[in-house]
Symmetry: C2
Subunit: 392 residues, 2 copies
């Protein structure tokens, strides 16, 4: 029944990078790919037409947020998310697990599933592997994820193992449940194992051997140092089946995209590009700049020379700076479009270099040029965001 | 030197309504017209391309806001407002007077001009009829307004007269100053006189006889009951020269557009359509609806059947409702586009009816159908907005 397929177009000889093509009912995705996140059925500040123009091939939407508001059954009445939000290209929905486990004392885990109280109105809800398949069937995305348990960082080895084993049992339940709802949807499996290399290997093998069409690597980028994330991928990737697409959940920044591809990942999603844009952080090949800095107040050229995004084609850096300082709504849009286009152009360049056989040079040149935001700055930002919006 | 012209295309036999065509260096404007307001060089939430698609022919920008941030000399370095904000159609800038007089204790009036402290950083500034002409020359709009004094509502007859007489003296100074800066800009005169019918008549005659290319009616819609505003226009309009366009400053709502045209006005500007949109108020031919109301949560159709705006063509009322409830940025854009398009479609329909000789029927049908927001509700909203953003 599935109209999903994945073809490897090229692989790198000196790294684990791959270029591939995914077919879905709503169109083709060329990997490696970055997926902008439309948490509440809207990629913040950006219209579907603008996403398309920026090169977006697939977006991610959050099951947790949508099941609470406006509700998955309402979205089903509108023919699913594609119709509801006026986006006719592929969509991936996550399982809601990550958000539920972030609720802390508002949720309670059992073998059956996760009971939680809505952050909006305190109403009680229950997510099970089965109910998540029903909800995601109502949302109608092309690719869906099963309920999993994301262990916090740090976790004890014992907690990590329990979370992983339950994730595995839930994965099997999800595979069965999915067939009862919309078999034409494509279900990816989620690899867990926290920060235990041996568990990560086990999970990759276990989930990789189940009949999932693709694999999402969960539980990373949850506060650990980046080096630790890359180390774990070095254990995970060799255990994954070659012929399935690999999605690194919740990652990331420009440098993460390059590193993740090098370590064998094909798909990436993160709110970071749009979130940092809203706070003034815009991507360039030299690193992230703060458009609110006074050095941009008189700059006639675009945010980055050579950028082909709508913002850079039509507006000076000085104008974008002015809008950001004045907190004009148009700024949030122009900044978000720039960062989304940056990620998608980068994904396209990575893909071209893999096909051309020059990915290792591309990667090294990019990483030499691009000055990443320091761990300290990232940590501070994370804390600020957490404080500002507890559950997003 | 001026490339400005105004031609009357048709006049109504039973009212004072007129249809006209204005030529400016940046293009043609067909009147009656509504001008969206781009306070800080951006019509809040809406891009220039979207304004164009919504039928905007001219926008208004605020001299007060732009002189303070980013500064008129910076905008001049970028070739003026058109280049700076990526809008190549006509622009009108106001004089900053209205905003300065709203500053209360932060400003001091003299015959020379108005001294004030910036609401942004407390820095001291001085606006004179001459400096305003220089600043507006730097901004480079097609149509510019001279510094005037907007008497508050209510005012004593004596205060009203003093404010009017000073406005007249300043008007003469502005006419001289303007020739020293950019003679190719078009200067409109501002009619004042507060709520004194005889003063309004005097001011209309005085300003109407000076060599201004158009007339803006100032000092109305400042808190008085609407009936009083319309009464005053009944005194003003017959005193105005036929051959110059007439601009009703800071007005208004859909019903104000219809009434204002009927009383001889050609041009309108107001933040109301975009401001009420941001608060959930969307225009329909039956009146303003609150898109956040639960009755929209399941509505499959558009906000208004038959509306040709981007929002109504592409999104259900339920989706717009969802975005508004979730406070998604895209909502502010979709709501603003709908209301701007509503105003511009209405202006176009009014114009067509004037040309067809059916304006009185059009007006009466519209006013019968359209339930205006009550004075009480409007007053409450005004107070809320004032509290929220003191100087905008």
């Amino acid at each position: 029944m599935s109209t999903f397929s994945f073809t490897l177009d090229a692989t790198c000889r000196e790294s684990w990078a791959r270029a591939g093509t995914i077919q879905t009912p709503h169109g083709t995705i060329q990997t490696p790919i970055f997926m902008p996140v439309g948490t509440q059925a809207s990629v913040k500040s950006v219209s579907p037409e603008e996403l398309r123009e920026a090169g977006a091939q697939i977006i991610l939407a959050n099951t947790y947020h949508l099941m609470l508001r406006p509700g998955s059954s309402l979205i089903a009445e509108f023919g699913g998310l594609h119709n509801f939000m006026h986006w006719d290209a592929p969509i991936l929905t996550d399982s809601g697990g990550f958000q539920v486990f972030s609720l802390g004392h508002l949720r309670k885990l059992s073998e059956e599933g996760a009971a939680f109280k809505s952050h909006l109105d305190g109403s009680p809800h229950m997510l099970t592997p089965e109910s998540v398949m029903r909800i995601e069937a109502e949302l109608g995305a092309d690719i869906v994820l099963p309920l999993d348990i994301c262990a916090p960082y740090p976790s004890s080895a014992r907690d990590a193992q329990e979370a992983m084993e339950r994730t595995h049992r839930w994965a099997e339940r999800a595979l069965i449940a999915k067939e009862q709802h919309r078999p034409e949807q494509t279900l990816f499996g989620i690899v867990q194992g926290a920060f235990e290399p041996e568990l990560r290997r086990q999970s990759a093998r276990f989930i990789g051997n189940l009949p999932f069409a693709g694999l999402s690597i969960g539980g990373l980028s949850v506060g650990e140092p980046k080096a630790e994330m890359w180390d774990l991928l070095r254990y995970v990737t060799p255990e994954l089946p070659e012929g399935k697409p690999r999605h690194l959940l919740g990652v990331g920044s420009p440098e993460d995209l390059v590193m993740g591809v090098s370590l064998g990942m094909d798909m990436f999603d993160c709110v970071l590009p749009t979130r940092v844009a809203r706070h003034g952080g815009l991507f360039t090949h030299q690193g992230r700049v703060n458009i609110k800095a006074s050095r941009f107040s008189t700059r006639q050229g675009p945010i980055e020379e050579g950028c082909d995004c709508y913002t850079c084609r039509n507006y000076s850096a000085a104008y974008v700076h002015h809008l950001a300082r004045a907190e004009e709504q148009l700024y949030y849009r122009l900044g978000s479009i720039h960062n989304i286009r940056f990620m998608l152009r980068l994904a396209g360049e990575i893909r071209a270099s893999i096909i051309a056989g020059t990915f290792p040079e591309f990667r090294d040149n990019f990483l030499v040029q691009y000055v990443p935001t320091s761990e300290k700055v990232r940590e501070d930002q994370r804390e600020k965001w957490k404080a500002a919006r507890r559950y997003q």
